[in-house]
Amino acid sequence: MKHKRIIIISALFFAAASGLLFIYSFEAIFYFTVPVVERSPEQPIAFSHKKHAGKYSINCLYCHRYANISKVAGVPDMELCVSCHRFIARKKPGIKKLIGYWERKEPVPWIKVHDLPDFTYFPHNTHLRAGVYCDSCHGDVTTMDRIERVSRISMRWCLDCHRERDVSIDCLQCHF
């Protein structure tokens, strides 16, 4: 009978669907696991990379001075900021704030934008040496007034890059 065959086929489809569903229905979850931290939080001082790195094209390493010699890039110490801004643009409200911090001998409580997951070893210097420059992870900061996270910092994201550059994806490279 004709409708019987139709039923069989549709049943096959049903089973197939349920099979694939079981395995791949959760792909969505991958997107929910992106850290829900704000991509571009309000910073205590409205520091503009656009101005510094873009307009005045100051080299990244001038402030983040450890990036090429240490695993940490290094947040510029306040003395560095002040050393310029003791003279430059003193009137600006932001700078006033900075000087205020400096005089109170308080560090500026910057808010972390690029937060590497815990238990992960990411040496900046090695990546720089391998020709993975700042912008490949931090995006083109010369265009950002307020810094924002452009890349999902998740393991799969790391792996993709490592795979396409054919560097080791051995777990112990980053986790030990």
């Binding site: 039923i7 069989i8 049943a11 089973a15 349920s18 099979g19 395995i23 994806i169 777990c171």
Partner: protein, 170 residues
């Protein structure tokens, strides 16, 4: 349109069916309702060939495929050596394949069965709770009013305790 006649026992029910057939009501419009399986042919002589075992088979095949994909495929996605086991090792893959095959076969069976029974269906049909207390129901599908009256007549004559139609349920 459906007419349902309730009978006390199988004998009278069979009687009724005979009468219906005698009045040349086509047999494939007649069916029996009961709360326990009635031996084949005692009331209705019609064999319902089942095809849902093919769904079981299909489920099994698809399950096996899914299991194999899962066990072998995911191992390939990020190949990590553990001990002396190869990335795709025969026995584990076999076991996973087996389990998934069984799972999908079982799901397939139930699904197929319901599908062929055309269940679940909640559309109101001619029915009577007394059936679950041992009565046998004979239901006949018909198209026209007069046919309906005719059939209920026959059932009534052949000793139905009660006649019901799907209208009154509605």
């Amino acid at each position: 349109m459906e007419v349902l006649g309730l009978f006390r026992n199988i004998e009278t029910a069979a009687e009724g069916v005979n009468n219906l057939l005698g009045e040349n009501i086509p047999e494939d419009t007649v069916t029996s309702l009961s709360s326990v399986p009635i031996p084949k042919g005692t009331v209705i002589k019609r064999d319902h060939s089942a095809w849902f075992q093919w769904v079981t088979l299909a489920g099994g095949v698809i399950g096996a495929a899914a299991g194999f994909l899962l066990a072998a495929g995911t191992a390939m996605l990020y190949p990590l050596y553990t001990g002396d086991k190869p990335i795709i090792s025969m026995f584990p893959v076999g076991i996973i394949t087996y389990e998934f095959a069984m799972l999908f076969a079982i799901i397939g069976t139930i699904a197929g069965m319901l599908f062929q029974m055309r269940l679940p269906c909640f559309s109101k049909k001619a029915y009577d709770p007394e059936i679950t207390t041992g009565m046998i129901g004979i239901s006949v599908i018909c198209d026209t009013e007069q046919e309906r009256d005719k059939i209920s007549g026959i059932l009534d004559r052949s000793g139905a305790v009660r006649i019901r139609t799907d209208e009154e349920v509605k």
